[in-house]
Symmetry: C2
Subunit: 283 residues, 2 copies
């Protein structure tokens, strides 16, 4: 079922909850669904009695000059894909439904987790993310919510918000889904031209190489970051925004990888910004 109003969605959810022991699963998306999203919906279907997928391109998480207007949209296709993957409801609200006129309340995680990485190029991005996710949580009131590990910093920030605000929702982070050649799936991949698409595989290649280097006994962060940089720089189109290796718990800065860390990259090809990450750990 496609539902556009909060009121209708609430009625449907109340009805479902009244029938039996319900568990509501929620997959918030910006639409233009790919296999990455569908893997979240599949997982939600297994874990819950009812699955809500939201499709909402959230204006407040785009910085001025970013691709809000041009962000790819295709609700008909999204609806079909989501329902096949296991959604019970696709929630497709208007901007006015989520941000009624004069809405001026924001939810913000402050501190080190949000100040790093993507925050440099997108300063108010996470404030937009936490605000809209908080609103959607209040509307859907799920038991479990599903996010993709591709947006690693987003997962971290949302877990922090949930924990700090005592939100009674279980956050499930699901693995990155990749193309045949390793490129992490993203709705923005559609922006890449042929040359950019070819060179974009260097992101994943560089991260795999970082793991290999660590497996071979090198645990110095600076050296591993250089390895990543050298590989990405083989592309003449790649503009590196950041290459980072951080602690897995709080994205804390580290100089040496002890047992586990996360390697993250953000690279622009033309105006298309891609991110990717891998967990580096001792087997």
């Amino acid at each position: 079922m496609l539902v556009e109003s909060i009121k209708n969605l609430r009625e449907i959810l109340i009805k479902h909850k009244s029938t039996s022991e319900s568990r509501i699963g929620f997959v918030p998306t910006m639409g233009y669904l790919h296999e990455g999203h569908l893997s979240l919906i599949n997982k939600a279907k297994v874990d819950n009695t009812f699955v809500v997928v939201s499709v909402f391109v959230n204006p407040t998480q785009f910085s001025p000059g970013e691709d809000y207007e041009n962000y790819p949209r295709n609700i008909e296709n999204d609806y079909k894909l989501a329902m096949i993957a296991g959604a019970d409801v696709v929630f497709y609200p208007s901007v006015e439904e989520i941000y009624p006129e004069g809405a001026s309340t924001f939810v913000e995680v402050e501190g080190s987790i949000v100040m790093k990485l993507c925050a440099h190029s997108r300063p108010s991005h996470f404030k937009g993310v936490t605000t809209v996710v908080n609103k959607l949580f209040n509307i859907v009131k799920p038991d479990n919510v599903y996010f993709g590990q591709k947006d690693a910093q987003q997962c971290m920030v949302i877990k922090k918000m949930v924990s700090d605000l005592h939100i009674d929702i279980n956050v499930v982070v699901c693995p990155i889904i990749r193309e045949f050649d390793g490129l992490a799936l993203s709705s923005r991949n559609t922006y890449l031209n042929k040359k950019e698409r070819e060179q974009s595989i260097l992101l994943y290649k560089s991260l795999v190489q970082a793991k290999l280097v660590f497996d071979n006994g090198i645990n110095d962060v600076k050296t591993i970051k250089e390895t990543i940089r050298n590989i990405i720089q083989k592309s003449n189109l790649a503009q590196i925004e950041y290459i980072e290796i951080l602690g897995i718990e709080n994205f804390e800065t580290i100089n040496v990888i002890d047992r586990r860390a996360i390697a993250l990259v953000a690279v622009k090809f033309g105006s298309t910004r891609l991110i990717d990450n891998v967990i580096i750990e001792k087997e």
Copy 2:
């Protein structure tokens, strides 16, 4: 029952909800309960099947130099009074329970409602209020929540947060309860010495006079504010912080009272800050 941990409170609430058609009523307080609080608990008892009263002196809503450390506390008495008034649970968490180490997520209403009145002397006050109330909402998940009209701006800000964030909770604002001589009940009244207590009744007197003046056909805001000021200034101890007459919907600035408005005052006696308000309206 006195409950100190979120975990225990959640277990109790889940148990209650499983038994029948439950309606949870919630009265958040900073303790040192007086008849004003008890009137909220009474109302909650009538409307709901289960009533949670929280007693938590919230550090983040006090500005530096304010009375956080000295704010009056008496949990034994609060517990007794709340239970007699109709509470099923008194939730009495520690600061660490509500703000675990490293907690850095805040909920903030921006814009005109929070920029006026109390915000001038207490700039981060409402950010502390909305953050803690949001946390408590996520913990208690009530159907109805009860606040006193005495904190008129707080009621306004919380209603705005609830509406903006699509929080599915009904906010009930209850009338101000007063002493025999008109002074609005407040836990801070206990700070007043004998002289200050005597002169403090001028706040309510001035507001009653404002209503009278309006009933007699004067609707010019400037004139009515002067009336209020003249009465409060009869006290040689009163330091006026603000006298305002605002629109009732959004605390918008008005020059003339059409049908309804709210008159609000904040006055310091020594270091004790008192607030009061009345609705001014055509019969």
